[in-house]
Each structure stands twice: as structure tokens, then as C-alpha cells.
Amino acid sequence: MNQSAAFAHTLQSWTSQLPILSAFPLWAWAAISALGVIFLLALPFGGLATYVERKIAADIQDRIGPNRVGPIGIFQFAADAVKMLAKEDFVPPGGDRFLFNLAPLFVVVGALAAFAALPLGKHLVGADLNIGIFYIISVTTLIAPGLLLGSWGSQNKWSLLGGLRAAAQIVSYEIPVALAILPVILISGTLQVGSIVEQQGWGVGDYHFWNIIHNPFTIISFFLLFIGGLAETNRIPFDLPEAESELVSGFNTEFSGMRFGLYALGEFVDVFVMSAVLTTVYLGGWQLPFFNIDQWVIPLPTGIVALVHFTVFMTKTLLLVFVVMWLRWTLPRLRVDQLMGLCWKGMVPLALINVTGTALWMWIFKGQSLMQLLAKAFGG
């Protein structure tokens, strides 16, 4: 049933010959892989993303950006982390201490929990769940109550306005996001992320290629998912919950020190998760275009294949993260009514048309992609 082995199984099989490590039970490997993904991938990404974002901003605005800590300022994020840890953990006197302390945890847990099902490579899936993609989009909804409760606990009108905006925005944009993933589920007939990636193929032989060019509707769906993801992660042009020019700093106005750090980390990790979902469902996940590393002339060891898969997946994902950061310094912020209008009058009807269109395409052309039809028409 499982084409892609889970992380823990892979680790267990790799270490089965080693003296001490072979005695570890499966749950120990599961715990180790979970900690590894969090501390070696998610948290360093969150830290480095703050630095990269500032560098990109500087490049776009013709500045230098952070350049003092380490070569070209690369250790800036570590200095920031130390500063945040050393700051006073301040709770506003009129606020609700319990909710204020609880809220950032919801955001971080919601963003990190998605990593359990992200397919970083054929042998690098935390848990290849039957409902994988559905699990990812449902578990990231935990972020919305986090933003709402934190803003309430701050006892500050700007915070509360930001929190209410965040919750309304995330709940609304959940619908176009889910509808934009649905065409892929119609095409691959499964929710399992490993299987969705495998079915997209290499583009050679049977002309199975990435879902983004499966048919005209999936191209539109890809952009809908990207725009919806921007809105769900509160990124510009949809950063109304933070909106510096109107709400000071929105839902995180009263947060300082590491609790603010957790909010910022949660946001960046969420951007990564959204880009990873786009990569998985539309851009072929860990697969290189036109080149099948799994069935190369020389059979490669699993470790190297896993490394190539991981590199390909991260390259695609980080390119999307770069586009997200690029947009931040390019587009102005929307108004609230424009935001809701775009969602309910633009994206939701378009997403529904895409779902129906893809279903019709699958029915008329018996599930063949555009590329396969072209290949057949020109005798390929």
C-alpha cells in the first residue's frame, strides 16, 4: 500500500546492522525523526528565513541589509534569537495572562504539526497518512484560534482588531484553498501525499507530468492555491491582521521576547508548509523533471536517492518561498472589503469552476493529461 516508507522505518532499516542503534524500537526512531525534523529543518528555516527576508528586502530596495554579524550578516538570526530570549516576557496588566501565554503555542503547534505529513522525499515522510493532504490543511487551522486568543488576551484594541481580521481571513480563505487542492485529488484519486507525488511522473515514457499542466483548469488552480496560501499565512498583500499603518502591529502588538519570536517563527514555518503543499500537489514534489533518479542506469544507494529527493523538494519549495518574500516588497496591501470580495466573489466561484472543469476533463478524456493527448495527436 505504501510506496513511500515513513521516516522512522527508513532510519530503523538503515541502522539495523549497527551495534547499539539496532536495539532502538520503532517509537524511539519516530521520536528522533520528529525532533530531527523540528530542530534540524523547521526551526533553522524559521531563523534563516528572517535573515533572507531582510536581505531580499534590502536588494529590492537597493540597500545592503544586515551585514555586521558574521560574513554578509549570516549570523544575524542567531543574534536576534539571543536578543529575544533575553528580553522581558511582558504580559500587559489588563490582559488575560492564561490566554496570552497559551496563544503562541497554538500557532507554533499548528505550523509544526503539518511537518509530520510533508513528503520531503520518497523515504523521507514522517507519516504517509491515508488522509495526508487533508491532515495538513486541517491541522494548520489551529493557527486561527491562536491568533484570536492571543489578541484577546492582550486587552488592546489594535490587537483585537488584528486578531478578528486574522480569524475571518483564515476561515474565509480555507475554502478556496481546499477547493484549489480538490482538482489534484480528482486526478490522483487519493489523499495520500506520497501517492500524489508518485503519480505525477517524470514527463518521459508515458508522458505523466506535474499536475500544474495536467489540464487548463489545474494551471488556474495552482495560482488560486498560491494566492489562498498567501492569505492564510497573513503575508503581503494580505497582511491586514498586522497592518502596521493602521493597527500598530496587529495581533502581536503586546507580545515581546520569545512569545513574539514564536509568532514570527510560526508565520515563517507556515509559509514553508504552504510552499511545500504547492510543491507536493502541483509541482511534482521530490521528482526531477525528465530524469528518473530511482531507475538510473546504475542503481543508487537509498541514502543518495533520499538526498537527491530532499534537495529537489527543498529547491522547489524555497523558490516558492522566495516568490512569497519578493511579493512582499512589490505589492501594496488590500483593504478589508477588497480582501473579502476577492475571496467570495473571485476565488471561490473560480475554484468551483475548476473543480467541475477538471471532473469533466477526467470524464471526457478518460483521465489523460494535456501532454499525453498532445503526444498522441502528434504520434509521440
Binding site: 487551522t141 484560534p145 484577546w152 480569524a167 476561515v171 489523499l191
Partner: protein
């Protein structure tokens, strides 16, 4: 099930019942809503252990991501939330007892009607049933043998949506 899984399930059950009690009896309605959120998550964990994978995901996305947010929204638009003590002072006893007993009867009957094959932990059919992916089965059931009720519900929901837009229209 292994002992570790049993422990996780037991923890989820205790948490669910505790948070359900808090949601019912806490005087501050905001804390009640948060306890309700954790109850919903606990129920999702139980669905996972019952082998209802799709239902667990739907539980999280609909109840945690949708319903709780709407409840919190409504609460946060209330004035003087922290000064307000919510206590039902009326002596409404008959109706709640009747509804509670009726619900208990339905649930108990449904539980007792389960095929005894599935009741023991390590019975093979039960294990096999737990590990089967349910999403495709659910889809085939909804668009196959239960098509009429499914369509009836969609029409009801469409009616509710149109009605909500009609009530909220600018006048």
C-alpha cells in the same frame, strides 16, 4: 493495540471528558469555548483510534477551524465579558433530563448493536477494519447507496446559505 496506543487513547478520553465538563460548568463563557475547542480535538483523536481517518480530519477542519472560531467571534463581540457570570437559574429539569436520557438510549443502543466480532481488541477483522483507508469507501457510500440523503442535505445547506445571504443583505 499496543499499550502505548492504549495510553494515548486513555489520555485523550480523560482530556475530552474533563474539557467537556469545563465547557459546561465554567462561569466564563470564553474559557468554556476554549475547553470546547480541546474537546473537539480529543474527539478527533478518538476518531483516529476508531479507524475513521477522514472523519478525524473533517472534525478538526470543521469544528476546530470553523465552528469554534465562529463561537469565539460571537463571544468577543459581547460587552463586559469578564464581569458576566453565566448561570442558569431557572428550574428547567424535565426537558433536559428527557433529551439527555433519549440521547443516551440512542447511543447505548448503537453501541450495543455493534458486531461482537469488532469488540475484542486483537480480533483480526477488527484490526483489518481499523487499518483500511476509509475515504474512498465513504465517497462511494455517499454517492452510491446514500445518494438521496446526501443530495437532500446539500439542498438544505444551500437553502441555509442563500437564507443567510438574504438576511445579511444591505438594505
Amino acid at each position: 493495540m499496543t499499550n502505548g496506543m492504549k495510553l494515548v487513547l486513555f489520555g485523550a478520553e480523560v482530556l475530552t471528558v474533563l474539557c467537556a465538563l469545563i465547557a459546561t460548568f465554567h462561569p466564563n463563557v470564553l474559557y468554556g469555548a476554549i475547553a470546547l475547542l480541546i474537546t473537539f480535538l480529543g474527539v478527533a483523536v478518538m476518531y483516529v483510534f476508531a479507524g475513521a481517518d477522514f472523519l478525524a480530519g473533517a472534525q478538526v477542519i470543521v469544528y476546530v477551524g470553523g465552528v469554534t472560531i465562529l463561537i469565539l467571534f460571537a463571544i468577543m463581540l459581547t460587552q463586559w465579558l469578564y464581569q458576566m457570570k453565566l448561570r442558569d437559574v431557572g428550574t428547567k429539569l424535565l426537558a433536559p433530563i428527557l433529551i439527555g436520557a433519549g440521547l443516551f438510549y440512542v447511543l447505548a443502543k448503537a453501541l450495543l448493536d455493534i458486531n461482537p466480532k469488532f469488540l475484542s481488541d486483537n480480533a483480526e477483522p477488527a484490526q483489518k477494519f481499523l487499518m483500511t483507508p476509509k475515504t474512498a469507501l465513504l465517497g462511494e457510500a455517499l454517492l452510491g447507496s446514500y445518494l438521496l440523503p446526501f443530495e437532500a442535505i446539500t439542498i438544505l445547506l444551500l437553502g441555509a446559505l442563500v437564507g443567510a445571504v438574504w438576511i445579511a443583505r444591505p438594505r
